[in-house]
């Protein structure tokens, strides 16, 4: 089946070479980081996690987003998702691989990464994150591959895979819950110390993951004969729209708690993220344009995505999905992690700007994810089109 990835049009090969070159440039950045140390990044004593961990956090959401396809299809027998569900599972694989790469990139001593297994520590949330992420990766490879392979052979998938598919449903929730627990269990950082963090993570995940999927599906519709189908598309619009609204509802709850209670620790980070935080004679606001753009793009996206369905317009659908995806990428991929650090518990404000090398590694990891995704999608779509022809 994998041989399907080795036959493709010129466009396919150009795209893969482009990704490989990005990976190469990023690998050079990583070599520099490996030799010098993490000091080559923009991180500092006060802002100890930067773009790597925030990308990781966001991508866990993208991986968990696959649930919104698996659950209706396998549990509620929603047939319209028959063609798209495999895309969701394969996207989860690529996203988890990226997550793991970002974690490794962030380690000061990457050669010792296996110490997490050598000295298992159940009181650390990072230990559980390791378990759930790797477990989810294995589950998705297993379920996705077995189901697709059965289709390739023209038979129904074997019965034994069903328990694994069902297991992957709560497991998807667990990956994002545990990832939220990394943050919300730490005393002293008010911005993260909120019970609503895991629900908010899940809401944004269930919007951002399927949004990315729809964007890719629309691209595939253009460049291949593969069409996920109108009904699936419309259903996903509902899912994305409501999940995105929930996310903003949760964000609104955070705003209420902070500004109605007037507790400084709660307000500081929101001040920094959305209005600019005055501290001494200085105002710190380097994330304000991003965070405001995030809210505007997100809300516009929600409006547009429902409108696109009324108009049955794919162009509008892609734009609205892009708006929602970028909005949540900023919210979680920038604001959430940095917001917790920049106003420190000792009432210092230290801003963070990623370094050139750091961005190089980040781009390379995304390129690797896209590379894996392209291979998997190439296989999946070739099989689907072949069977239908």
């Amino acid at each position: 089946m994998i041989e399907k990835a080795l036959k493709g049009s010129t466009g396919y090969w150009v795209w893969m070479l482009f990704l490989l070159s990005l990976m190469g440039v990023g690998a050079l950045s990583y070599v520099q980081q490996f030799n010098y140390g993490l000091g080559i990044t923009g991180m500092s004593r006060d802002v100890t996690w930067g773009v790597y961990i925030s990308q990781f956090t966001f991508l866990v959401g993208v991986a968990a987003g696959g649930l919104m396809l698996v659950l209706p299809y396998y549990l509620h027998n929603y047939k319209a998702f028959g063609r798209i569900v495999i895309l969701g599972e394969f996207m989860a694989i690529a996203a988890i691989v990226m997550c793991l790469m970002f974690i490794i990139a962030d380690l000061g001593q990457p050669m010792r990464a296996l110490n997490v297994l050598l000295f298992p520590t159940p009181n650390s949330m990072l230990f559980w994150d390791m378990i759930v992420l790797n477990g989810y990766l294995i589950l998705n490879i297993l379920c996705g591959w077995v189901v697709l392979h059965s289709e390739y052979k023209g038979i129904k998938y074997p019965k034994w895979i069903k328990p694994f598919i069902y297991l992957s449903i709560p497991w998807a929730i667990s990956i994002h819950t545990v990832t939220a627990f990394l943050y919300c269990g730490l005393p002293g950082r008010h911005f993260w110390l909120t019970a609503i963090l895991a629900p908010r993570f899940l809401a944004s995940a269930f919007a951002a993951g399927p949004a990315l999927l729809l964007i890719i599906a629309m691209v595939l519709k253009r460049v291949t004969k593969f069409d996920v189908g109108r009904e699936a598309q419309d259903k996903l619009v509902t899912i994305i729209g409501y999940a995105a609204m929930l996310n903003f509802f949760f964000l609104g709850c955070e705003f209420f708690v902070a500004y109605y209670s007037q507790i400084p620790g709660h307000m500081h980070t929101l001040d920094y993220l959305f209005w600019g935080l005055g501290h001494g004679d200085q105002v710190f606001n380097n994330l304000v344009p991003f965070m405001r753009a995030s809210v505007i793009m997100g809300l516009t996206g929600i409006g547009l995505i429902f409108y696109s369905r009324v108009k049955q317009c794919d162009g509008l659908l892609v734009i609205s999905c892009l708006l929602i995806f970028i909005s949540f990428w900023i919210d979680k991929g920038l604001g959430l992690v940095l917001g917790g650090f920049v106003p420190s518990p000792m009432d210092y404000v230290t801003e963070y700007v990623p370094s050139f090398q750091e961005l190089g590694v980040t781009v390379a990891v995304w390129a690797t994810g896209a590379f894996i995704l392209s291979i998997l999608y190439k296989v999946a779509i070739s099989v689907k089109l072949e069977k239908e022809a």
């Binding site: 500092s44 004593r45 962030d106 000061g108 110490n115 069903k162 449903i169 730490l186 002293g188 009432d347």
Partner: protein
């Protein structure tokens, strides 16, 4: 109800049973090294009688105001003995013991009106060696752990440099080796001015912090900073669990405050302002 859903419910049920059984398994696993997560009995309402040693420190801030420069001497002594590098910039900074202003040590105490004397008062800050350290809870490899004598210690051999402990520490007491501490700056000046041959350095990519001079306590000495401040009686070090120790006597007779007590970390450091 179709069979698929029935299958699912079966699995969900099994998962729920596993979930109920998990806490007991969890507790078994937690026994041993992970003292940080000891149950509610460790403190709070109806606290159990303490057993064993618990090292702590009282910092008498007035003594440092009366002896200008003393705080800096303590810092130098600590950093020299422990081969703490000086990178000359804030981004890479590593510190075990340092001088901080009142507003930053006690941000939650910063009321509108307060004595002028507090302004510019040098306050020594170091790892609080919490009774319930969030850093120990966060560490995924037990590279940071709480010893039986209450000291929150680190094993630099095991640290993977994930910096979860730095996110967890509410007191900014942890530093990361962003670059090689054995290196030299652009002018060829080594970051560790004079290496103490009796103590190791650290390596790039690990977290480090104050160890309450474990290596000195082991051979019957008091912590380096306490020794420097001993003439002025600025730092009182001892066993908090021993009612007859000097530190227990001081704590009984003086009003002291702790850093951010509301978050339940139970620091072993006390300040007389």
């Amino acid at each position: 109800m179709d069979s698929k859903r029935r299958d699912f419910l079966k699995i969900a049920g099994l998962t729920a049973i596993a979930g109920i059984a998990a806490p007991s398994a969890f507790n078994t696993l937690l026994k041993g090294e992970a003292l940080a997560s000891a149950g509610p009995a460790a403190s709070g309402h109806g606290a159990a009688a303490p057993t064993g040693k618990r090292y702590g420190m009282v910092i008498d801030v007035k003594k440092f105001t009366e002896n200008p420069g003393l705080a800096e001497q303590c810092v130098t002594a600590c950093h020299t003995i422990h081969n703490v590098p000086d990178f000359g910039n804030k981004k890479d900074e590593i510190k075990w013991l340092w001088v901080e202003s009142y507003d930053h040590v006690f941000p939650e105490h910063s009321q509108d009106k307060r004595p002028d004397g507090l302004k510019g008062m040098p306050i020594l800050t170091l790892c609080n060696h919490c009774e319930k350290p969030p850093c120990v809870r966060a560490c995924p490899t037990k590279a940071t752990f709480k010893k039986k004598n209450g000291i929150v210690a680190m094993d630099y051999h095991r640290c993977i440099g994930c910096r979860f402990c730095m996110a967890a520490c509410p007191y900014g007491a942890r530093s990361f080796n962003w670059r090689d501490p054995r290196g030299k700056d652009a002018n060829g000046r080594p970051f560790i001015k004079a290496e103490n041959p009796k103590f190791p350095t650290r390596m790039r990519g690990v977290v480090e912090k104050c160890n309450f001079c474990t290596e000195r306590l082991a051979i019957g000495q008091i912590p380096a900073c306490v020794e420097v401040a001993s003439q002025a009686k600025g730092l009182i070090f001892g066993d908090l669990n021993d009612p007859n120790s000097e530190i227990s006597q001081v704590l009984k007779t003086s009003f002291t405050i702790q850093r951010n007590p509301a978050i339940g970390t139970h620091p072993s450091l006390f300040y007389i302002i």
